[in-house]
C-alpha cells in the first residue's frame, strides 16, 4: 500500500483491478476500452445526437409554427435544392474555393516549409509570423481584406500610383474578381496553418535519412520525391482532409467579404445554405441543405482516404 496520495493512486483505489485484464489475465469481455470511451460518448450522445436526429427529421418537413407544428413534405426540400440553379452555381464556386483553401496553401506551405527547413537563421520568427494570420479572428480578417481590396484600398492605390491602371478597379463587387479576392484572404489565413504542420513533419525526419541518400548519390530532387514526400504523406493527408471538410463548411470567409455577390458570383454552398436557413427562414430546407453538405464532406473525405491508399485514418 503506497503511502503517496497522488491522483493516479486515488483513481486506482476507485477503479477495481478487476477491470484490468492485464493483471488478472482472465479471458472474457474487456470493458476497459469502453470505459475510456464512455465520458466522451455520453457528452456526444446527450448534446449532439438528439439535435442531429431532430434536424434530420426536419429536413423532410416544413415548419408551420415556430416551436410548434411541422408538416411532412417528403423529399420536396431536397428536390427544391437540387433543382435550384444557384445551388449548382454555388457548387462550382465551392470547387474553386476549395482549391484556394486546400491546395494553394498546401503547396505554398510546403514550399515555405522546405525553405525554412534548410536551416537559415530566424526559423522560428518566420514560422511564428506566418502563423499569426491563423489567430486573427476571421471576421476581422475579412474586413481588413475587404478594405485592402476596396476602391480606396491599398491595392488600388498601388496600382493607380504605379500607373498600371488609370482608375481604381472593382475587386469585391465585380463578378469576375469577387471569388478570387476572397481566396486571397483565405490563402493568407491558411498558409501558416499548413506551414506549421508540414514544417514539423519535415523537421521530424531524421537527418541520417538525408545522409544516407547523399551517400547513395541521390540528387536533392530524387531525395525529395522518393523519401521526403512519402514520409510527409500522413501530414499532408491530415491537412487535406481537414481542409476539404472546412471548405465545405466554411462560410464566414465569403460572407463577410462579399456576401456571396455580386449576383452569386462568389456564392459558395455554405453561404447559400446560411441564407436559406437564417435569412429566408426556410428551416426545413435549411436542414436538408445542411445534410447535403454533410454528405458531400463525408464523400470527399472518404474519396481522399481511398485515393491515397491509406489505412492511415
Amino acid at each position: 500500500m503506497s503511502s503517496r496520495n497522488t491522483l493516479s493512486d486515488r483513481i486506482g483505489r476507485f477503479v477495481p483491478d478487476r477491470f484490468s485484464s492485464s493483471t488478472t489475465g482472465e479471458p472474457g469481455i474487456n470493458w476497459t476500452p469502453y470505459l475510456y470511451l464512455l465520458p466522451a460518448f455520453v457528452l456526444y450522445a446527450v448534446v449532439l445526437v438528439y439535435p442531429f436526429i431532430d434536424t434530420f427529421i426536419l429536413s423532410f418537413q416544413r415548419i408551420t409554427t415556430l416551436g410548434g407544428e411541422r408538416r411532412w413534405v417528403g423529399l420536396q426540400n431536397y428536390e427544391a435544392i437540387l433543382s435550384d440553379p444557384i445551388f449548382w452555381r454555388a457548387s462550382l464556386n465551392t470547387v474553386i474555393f476549395s482549391i484556394g483553401m486546400v491546395f494553394v496553401p498546401l503547396v505554398l506551405g510546403l514550399g515555405l516549409a522546405i525553405l525554412i527547413d534548410t536551416g537559415v537563421s530566424g526559423t522560428s520568427t518566420f514560422r511564428s509570423l506566418i502563423f499569426v494570420p491563423v489567430i486573427v479572428p476571421l471576421v476581422v480578417a475579412g474586413i481588413i481584406f475587404g478594405w485592402l481590396l476596396g476602391t480606396n484600398g491599398l491595392l488600388n492605390s498601388v496600382l493607380v500610383g504605379a500607373g498600371i491602371i488609370e482608375e481604381p478597379m472593382r475587386f469585391l463587387n465585380s463578378t469576375t474578381w469577387s471569388l478570387p479576392s476572397v481566396l486571397v484572404m483565405v490563402i493568407w489565413k491558411r498558409t501558416g496553418y499548413y506551414l506549421v504542420i508540414l514544417l514539423a513533419g519535415l523537421q521530424g525526419i531524421p537527418d541520417n535519412v538525408y545522409e544516407a541518400a547523399r551517400v547513395a548519390g541521390k540528387s536533392r530532387w530524387a531525395t525529395f520525391r522518393n523519401i521526403t514526400l512519402p514520409l510527409l504523406k500522413p501530414a499532408i493527408l491530415v491537412t487535406v482532409i481537414i481542409g476539404i471538410i472546412d471548405s465545405v463548411k466554411a462560410f464566414a470567409h465569403v460572407y463577410v467579404m462579399t456576401g456571396g455577390g455580386p449576383s452569386h458570383s462568389s456564392e459558395i454552398l455554405a453561404t447559400y445554405f446560411y441564407k436559406v436557413a437564417f435569412r429566408f427562414f426556410q428551416f426545413g430546407k435549411g436542414a436538408a441543405y445542411g445534410f447535403i453538405l454533410f454528405a458531400i464532406a463525408l464523400t470527399l473525405s472518404l474519396l481522399v482516404i481511398r485515393f491515397s491508399g491509406g489505412s492511415e485514418i
Binding site: 491522483l7 486506482g12 477503479v15 492485464s22 474487456n30 476497459t32 476500452p33 475510456y36 470511451l37 465520458p39 466522451a40 460518448f41 456526444y44 449532439l48 439535435p51 442531429f52 434536424t55 426536419l58 416551436g67 515555405l112 525553405l115 534548410t118 530566424g122 511564428s128 506566418i130 502563423f131 499569426v132 486573427v136 479572428p137 471576421v139 476581422v140 474586413i143 481588413i144 478594405w147 485592402l148 476602391t151 480606396n152 484600398g153 492605390s157 493568407w188 506549421v196 514539423a200 513533419g201 523537421q203 521530424g204 525526419i205 540528387s219 536533392r220 530532387w221 514520409l231 510527409l232 500522413p234 491530415v238 463548411k249 436557413a277 435549411g286 445542411g290 454533410f294 464532406a297 463525408l298
Partner: protein
C-alpha cells in the same frame, strides 16, 4: 551553361551555389513574411488613426498623428475586462473538458482492438463533417430545457461536444504513432492499464495534447455564432460577441475602433502561442511521423 543544368546544379546541392541558394532562401522567406505582415500592419496602423484619416484616398500608409483614442473609445463601449475574462473561462474550460474526454477516447481507438472499434471511430469523426449551424436551433431548445442557456458552462459543454471529433481525429493519429512496446513493458511489470495510460502514455503525449489544446483554444476564442445565440445577458458576452457591435450596419463599420479591439483581442492568443510554440511544434512532429 543552360538554364536547366544550372537549376539542376542548384537542386543537387553543388557547393558553389550553396551560398547563393542560402541568400535566395532568406530573401524569399523575407518577402513571404512581409506579404503576410502587410494586412496585420494595416490593422494596427488603422487602429491608430482618427475617423477622418481613415476615409482618405490614397490611404495614409503611416498614421500621420498616431493616437490611442480608438483604443480608449473602443474600451468604453462595453465591459471589456469582463468579456475578456468570460472568453478565457469559456475557451479554457472547453479546452480542458474536451481534452479530458477525447484523450482517453483517442487512446483506446488508436491502440486497442475491440469490437465495434471502427464504427465508433467513424461515429466520432462524423462530428467533424456537420456544419454546426444546422444544429443551432435544436441545440438551443435542448440546452434551454436543461437550463444551460445563458450560462458559461452551457457554452463550454456545447464547444466541447463540437470539438470532440476534431481532437479525437488529431490525437488518434498521434497515439498510433507512439512505439508499440510501451504498454507491453508496463504489462510485464504488472502495472494496470489505466495507470500506464496516466503515468506513461500521457506524458509522452504532451506535445500532441498541447497541439490540440492550442487549436481548440484559438477556435473557441474566435467563435461567435453559438456565443451570440447562447449568451443573452451582456455580462456573459465573449470578446467575439463584443466585436460584433463595431460592425453595425454593413458599411458603417467603425474601422479604427474595430481594429483596435481586434489587436487587443488577438494579443493574448499571440502571447500564448509564442509561449507554447515549442511544445506545439514538437506535437506536430509527433503527429506525423510514421
Amino acid at each position: 551553361m543552360s538554364v536547366v543544368t544550372r537549376i539542376r546544379d542548384v537542386i543537387s546541392g553543388d557547393s558553389d551555389v550553396r551560398t547563393v541558394t542560402r541568400v535566395g532562401t532568406l530573401a524569399t522567406l523575407t518577402v513571404a513574411t512581409i506579404l503576410v505582415a502587410i494586412p496585420l500592419y494595416w490593422m494596427v496602423a488603422t487602429s491608430l488613426k482618427t475617423s477622418v484619416q481613415i476615409g482618405v484616398f490614397p490611404p495614409y500608409l503611416v498614421p500621420p498623428t498616431p493616437t490611442i483614442d480608438p483604443f480608449i473609445n473602443a474600451l468604453q463601449t462595453g465591459p471589456w475586462v469582463q468579456w475578456f475574462l468570460n472568453t478565457v473561462v469559456i475557451s479554457g474550460g472547453s479546452t480542458i473538458l474536451v481534452l479530458a474526454l477525447a484523450t482517453p477516447a483517442a487512446y483506446v481507438l488508436g491502440r486497442r482492438e475491440f469490437p465495434a472499434r471502427k464504427p465508433l471511430y467513424v461515429l466520432f469523426i462524423g462530428i467533424l463533417m456537420i456544419p454546426a449551424q444546422i444544429l443551432l436551433i435544436p441545440m438551443y431548445t435542448l440546452f434551454s430545457r436543461i437550463g444551460l442557456i445563458n450560462t458559461r458552462i452551457g457554452l463550454i459543454v456545447a464547444y466541447s461536444a463540437f470539438f470532440l471529433g476534431f481532437v479525437v481525429f488529431l490525437l488518434h493519429s498521434f497515439f498510433t504513432n507512439l512505439p508499440d512496446n510501451v504498454e507491453d513493458a508496463a504489462h510485464i511489470g504488472g502495472v494496470p492499464e489505466w495507470r500506464t495510460f496516466l503515468r506513461v502514455i500521457l506524458p509522452m503525449a504532451k506535445p500532441g495534447i498541447a497541439t490540440a489544446a492550442i487549436f481548440v483554444f484559438v477556435f473557441t476564442w474566435n467563435e461567435f455564432l453559438f456565443a451570440l445565440t447562447f449568451l443573452q445577458t451582456q455580462e456573459l458576452y465573449t470578446i467575439s460577441v463584443g466585436l460584433q457591435q463595431f460592425q453595425g450596419l454593413r458599411g458603417t463599420v467603425v474601422y479604427n475602433q474595430l481594429f483596435a479591439m481586434s489587436t487587443l483581442a488577438t494579443l493574448p492568443l499571440l502571447i500564448g502561442f509564442a509561449l507554447f510554440s515549442e511544445q506545439f511544434i514538437k506535437g506536430m512532429a509527433g503527429l506525423n511521423l510514421k
